[in-house]
């Protein structure tokens, strides 16, 4: 493995060994403290534009599995790890993490003091970085000059509708860069799903006469999406049961008058206790928060806070007072992360059931 470097905007240089693709990439550095599920994480489109630092000490130890894709064409900008193991476990013994990343032109760098890096990002806040062959002035110039696109959703969401037929409730999923876990959970519950592009209009949705609408997860800032998306949400929520996750949750909050703030440091992990306010239960789920709802801006005549992170105090769920419309910031689909909240999908099904 060739020596490569992770360089950060603040001038720091981390030498390591390259794996995966040999590409030079630039992205925002985020860290994920999940102990399992490297494949689910790296294939999640929320990491478009981002280089993911894994605190789990070893990745690659179970290869690449057919049932652990969160997208087929991942667009993360890189993996930063302490150790990578080259193992293939599929039937052909032919797809290790290393090979997979090569195929998708995603670079990885191993042998990094990821704990130090995480502690450093903790101090600096979110920061840009590059994985490069040579850590010279030129590389830093390139890094500083790179402007990351804010059109992430358009880049990863499906450009045209597609169906996932089944016998149950008719659900429209608006794709902002969805993770497959969402489709898997709907499929498990027999939903007849149509996935629409992120810029679908309310009329496009209504034309399909759905029992429910799901706003998916996705990358980037909700503030970068046009007002038309919020209009669509406002129209839909009055007529059709609505469930929103991740970026969808942020959009749902925006559509209902709340403001979104960017965290100084994003939190990615499944170890924070989340209080389900209505019953006081504690659950754990994969959280991926970079943008959160500002609690002071919630219009309490319209929205009820339903979930709260007990470690950082962030809003993790909302529900509309007047309509069967609700949202969660965390990922309830358990891919990766605990299944503690997977029955939120059942809630969605049951809400659709009452509207028959």
């Amino acid at each position: 493995m060739a020596q490569r470097f992770l360089i950060l905007e603040d001038g720091s240089i981390y030498p390591g060994q390259g794996f995966g693709a040999g590409a030079t990439t630039t992205g925002e550095i985020v860290f994920n403290t999940s102990m399992l599920g490297y494949q689910e994480i790296v294939t999640n489109q929320i990491y478009h534009n981002q280089i993911i630092v894994f605190s789990q000490p070893i990745v690659g130890s179970i290869g690449i599995a057919h049932d652990a894709y969160e997208s087929i064409l991942p667009t993360a900008k890189g993996m930063v790890v302490r150790d990578v193991t080259d193992i293939s476990k599929n039937r052909q013994r032919s797809l290790s993490l290393d090979q997979f990343l090569k195929q998708h032109n995603i670079p990885g760098i191993s042998g990094i003091d990821t704990r130090h890096l995480i502690r450093q990002i903790n101090q600096t806040g979110t920061i840009k970085g590059s994985i490069v062959d040579v850590a010279d002035d030129h590389a830093f110039d390139q890094l500083h000059a790179t402007v990351l696109t804010n059109q992430q959703v358009a880049q990863v969401a499906t450009p045209r509708p597609y169906p996932n037929p089944n016998q149950g409730y008719n659900v429209v999923v608006i794709d902002f860069g969805l993770k497959h876990g969402i489709l898997r959970q709907l499929s498990k519950r027999d939903c007849n799903v149509t996935v629409l592009p992120w810029d679908a209009s309310a009329q496009d949705v209504i034309n399909l006469d759905p029992d429910g609408v799901l706003l998916s997860t996705g990358p980037g800032s909700p503030l970068d999406l046009p007002e038309s998306v919020l209009d669509m949400i406002r129209t839909i929520q009055e007529r059709i049961p609505l469930f929103a996750i991740g970026l969808g949750h942020e959009l749902f909050a925006l559509a209902n008058g709340s403001e979104i703030t960017k965290l100084k440091l994003s939190h990615q992990g499944a170890n924070h206790p989340i209080r389900k306010i209505i019953t006081n239960e504690i659950i754990y789920a994969m959280e991926s928060e970079e943008y959160v709802v500002d609690p002071d801006t919630i219009n309490r005549d319209r929205l009820i806070t339903t979930y709260l992170d007990l470690i950082d105090g962030s809003i993790q769920g909302l529900r509309h007072r007047d309509y069967p419309a609700f949202s969660v910031q965390f990922f309830p689909d358990g891919a990766p992360g605990p299944n503690d909240s997977v029955d939120i999908f059942d809630e969605f099904i049951e809400i659709m059931g009452t509207r028959e």
Partner: protein, 834 residues
């Protein structure tokens, strides 16, 4: 209900044996600490002289008695505790509580059980009833039936088909499972199992040998809130007892989906039983991950929970104590030193790997069968912590060897036939055999097939060998040194490979800034900034461990538990730490035993979990610059090497090096004394016996009984002799003068030896004076006339007591034999009645 609890009777773990060592007592110490915070009075019954928990309760609350239903009943009837706690007493305690529940003693005296609800108590050690519960919550269960006779057993086994597993129901000892390939095996196992079962029943079940064994450790409060603390992965498959298996945490070869399914199941079971506190759930996974079974549920502290606590920094026992009192997980407040002040609800996320390797009794009990199987044989364990699997494996391996010189024994003399045989029927040295097999070119798939160990580990073992080869080929090069250290090779090992001495290696490291970086052992994987008290070393960019103070003392822990004096060493170390702190020093402890009480975070200012080997010690010294290094017991090689480098060493008890001066290899009277500068203080005279009567050699003396069968005249005579002798022969600390007598005749001087650690623990309990602390104070120069004058030792006391070593022969399936001091696995102490 539980809010009214004011008095709790805690059932201690009893003498150390195969199946449990110091982890129960260590958990007990934490629980007593927590209960004290809530203003609750703890009563403790235990007869383990090496119990540190016994030091933490008032004499009035201390019941030094064997843990039996009768004794516990007597205490209940006399003391009327509000509640009884069995979760730090292992299977014995559970069995005692079951008995007291059945005979109505608990109900009659209105004593509630903590942690395990009364109706669950009967189910947890009964595989049959556990299966019923599994069916209720919709879990797959292994085909099994309960039998009470050999005939039934034969019928059932034929029906299920061999191989079968035999498990005694409600066993009195920690037996786990016995694998039987043939009817003959099965008959022998059932006969034994029936005799161990309190109900004279066994379960015969379908064999799941070769499955992957995974353990989860979780916490649950009365509200039903749950936290998963850790997942433990047995590197060895089912078929080798999990206590004898190499274990790694976090799990490294499970997919997210597999892991979460186990988590869901563990939580569902905890809810079904309404456990509170800590629960340790065992699973067997089919290699393809498609299905799994629950094999064991232990809602109490054990080696699994203590490994989870040590690996994550989550104070399991402390939190559990709060949960027993109906505290919610959201409200538990931890002592300040626990860095994750947020709540006890943060699910630990690790950025390091911990590997546990068992330690064996076979060096001392040479006639035991060394094959690993479903009956546990190891007596202790040691862990390695690293940032990679290689580093953690190597560190654990280095700490698990008997040789003091940081080296791994060679297996190169094994024939190929022996290798194959040992791959299929593993012996205690299995990891070294696995490495040797790889060295000889066995392929990963082939080894996976033979051993059922996940290929991932062979890839890692192979990498270790590649690095080893690389180091060997590039002597005294910077890159090789860096690579070696980065992956966990010790300086001693590298020096040997380079045929140089360790100082050369360290010099090379120093000159090229290849310095150790200590990383915190904490549960947030670096997300939260507070620093913990526990660290391990690696060789990366950032060092998180700064010098504590200019008044620091480094204590070298004894590492994993082994037979012989080591059984008491952890007690000794714990008391040492308490005194050093009291005397105003900051303390750093190095240790590798995940079960050690001495690693409890509240006892020292910093805990370093690294091999207690020369290079690693010097690394710690390089940061801490301790004013002194304390060594409990003696480690000749290490102390010699450290002294050679001009470090100030205190070996306690002192004079270990002077060893014994013996005129005779036989003695039946011992007189223990404390020897200070100007004082010789007699402590106790006792009869010395073997376990089976007269001891014909000194190493057979494993029983001490007091008062000694001496007339006052005889006693006075040996007192006078001892004082005279010790006045003339310079010794310090504690010594045991040895005499022989046949009753009438005047005792003959037989020799003098340093007082054994085991004996010191006994003397503490008999005299009520903590002699370990006195030795520490002596070493610190704090002994003075006033203090010595306060020792009220009545050498003529006629209070009857005895301490007697316990041996692992039964668990090792050996006939009862005369035990030697080197074979002691623990000891039990008793007063008044024998």
């Amino acid at each position: 209900m539980a809010t009214e609890i004011q008095k709790i009777l805690i059932i201690g773990g009893g003498p150390t044996e195969i199946g449990h060592e110091t982890e129960l007592d260590a958990a007990c110490v934490q629980i007593i600490q927590a209960l004290k915070k809530y203003g609750i009075r703890s009563l403790l019954i235990d007869n383990n002289p090496f119990s540190a928990a016994l030091e933490d309760v008032q004499p009035a609350n201390m019941f030094i008695q064997a843990v039996t239903a009768d004794n516990v009943q007597r205490i209940i009837e006399k003391e009327h505790p509000d509640a009884i706690l069995a979760t730090v007493g292992g299977v014995t305690a559970i069995s005692v509580i079951q008995e007291l529940q059945e005979n109505g003693v608990l109900a009659d005296n209105e004593v509630q059980t903590l942690g395990i609800p009364a109706d669950a108590m009967m189910d947890i050690n009964n595989p049959d009833r556990l299966n019923d519960v599994m069916r209720n919550v919709g879990m797959p269960v292994i085909a099994s039936e309960t039998v009470g006779t050999l005939d039934e057993a034969i019928n059932v086994a034929n029906k299920i088909g061999y191989p079968v597993i035999v498990k005694p129901i409600a066993p009195r000892i920690d037996t786990n499972r016995m694998l039987c390939e043939t009817e003959a095996d099965m008959i022998s196992a059932v006969s034994r199992g029936l005799s161990w079962s309190r109900f004279k029943q066994c379960v015969i079940e379908q064999s799941i040998v070769g499955y992957k064994e995974i353990e989860l450790v979780s916490m649950r409060d009365t509200m039903g809130t749950q936290v998963l603390v850790a997942g433990l992965e047995n590197i060895d498959p089912i078929g080798i007892h999990s206590g004898d298996s190499m274990v790694v945490t976090p799990t490294l070869t499970l997919s997210n989906a597999e892991y979460e399914a186990l988590r869901d199941t563990a939580f569902a079971i905890n809810n079904q039983f309404r456990f509170t506190g800590v629960v340790h759930t065992h699973f067997a996974l089919r290699a393809d991950g498609e299905s799994f079974y629950v094999t064991k549920v232990t809602p109490y502290n054990d080696r699994g929970t203590s490994l989870a606590a040590t690996a994550t920094g989550y104070p399991i026992a402390y939190v559990a104590a709060s949960l027993y009192l109906n505290q919610k997980l959201t409200d538990v407040h931890l002592p300040d030193i626990y860095h994750f002040k947020q709540t006890a609800l943060l699910e630990p996320s690790l950025d390091h790997v911990v590997v546990r390797i068992p330690l064996w009794p076979f060096e001392d009990v040479t006639n035991a069968d060394q094959h690993l199987g479903t009956v546990m044989k190891s007596v202790g364990s040691t862990i390695g912590v690293g940032r990679s699997a290689e580093e953690a494996i190597l560190k654990a391996l280095r700490s698990s060897q008997f040789s003091p010189q940081d080296e791994l024994p060679s297996m190169s003399n094994l024939t190929d036939t022996q290798i194959i045989s040992q791959l299929i029927h593993p012996l205690s040295n299995r990891i070294l055999v696995l490495l040797e097999a790889l060295r000889r070119g066995y392929q990963v798939d082939e080894l996976n097939e033979l051993t059922k160990i996940d290929p991932f580990y062979f890839v890692k073992f192979k990498h270790i060998l590649d690095i080893e080869e690389d180091i060997r080929m590039h002597p005294m090069t910077i890159d090789a040194l860096h690579e070696g250290r980065y992956y966990g090779f010790g300086d001693g090992m590298i020096a040997r490979m380079w045929q140089t001495d360790i100082d050369q290696v360290r010099q090379l490291g120093r000159n090229n800034q290849i310095s150790p970086t200590y990383k915190g052992i904490e549960p947030s994987a670096g997300e939260l900034q507070d620093l913990p008290t526990a660290y391990y070393s690696t060789f990366e960019l950032e060092n998180e461990s700064e010098q504590l103070s200019d008044k620091t003392i480094l204590v070298l822990g004894r590492g994993g538990n082994q037979l012989g004096p080591n059984a008491s060493a952890d007690y000794f170390t714990t008391e040492m730490l308490k005194q050093l702190r009291k005397s105003g020093y900051q303390t750093v402890i190095m240790n590798t035993n995940p079960n050690a009480g001495s690693l409890t975070a509240t006892l020292s200012d910093k805990q370093i979990i690294d091999p207690v080997q020369l290079g690693d010690i010097m690394n710690v010294i390089g940061i801490e610059h301790p004013v002194k290094i304390f060594v409990p017991g003696n480690r000749h090689y290490l102390t010699r090497e450290l002294r050679r480098r001009d470090y100030s060493i205190s070996i306690l008890p002192p004079d270990q090096e002077k060893r014994s001066e013996l005129l005779n290899d036989h003695a039946n009277i011992g007189l223990d004394l404390f020897v200070a500068e100007d004082h010789i203080v007699p402590i106790l005279a006792s009869d010395l016996r073997s376990d089976q009567g007269i001891a014909t050699t000194l190493d057979q003396i494993t029983l001490m009984r007091t008062p000694a069968t001496l007339t006052d005249q005889q006693l006075d005579k040996i007192l006078a002799h001892a004082k005279e002798y010790l006045g003339a022969h310079k010794r310090t600390g504690m010594v045991q003068m040895l005499y022989t007598t046949n009753g009438k005749q005047a005792p003959q001087f037989a020799g003098v030896r340093p007082t054994r650690l085991t004996t010191i623990a006994y003397l503490n309990k008999v005299t009520g004076i903590n002699w370990v602390r006195m030795l520490v104070r002596q070493a610190l120069g704090e002994l003075d006339e006033d203090l010595i004058a306060k020792w009220a030792v009545d050498i003529y006391s006629d209070r009857r007591s005895q301490v007697r070593g316990t041996f692992p022969f039964k668990q090792l399936q050996l006939p009862d034999q005369l035990g030697l001091t080197t074979q002691e696995v623990g000891a039990r102490i008793s007063f008044e009645t024998f």
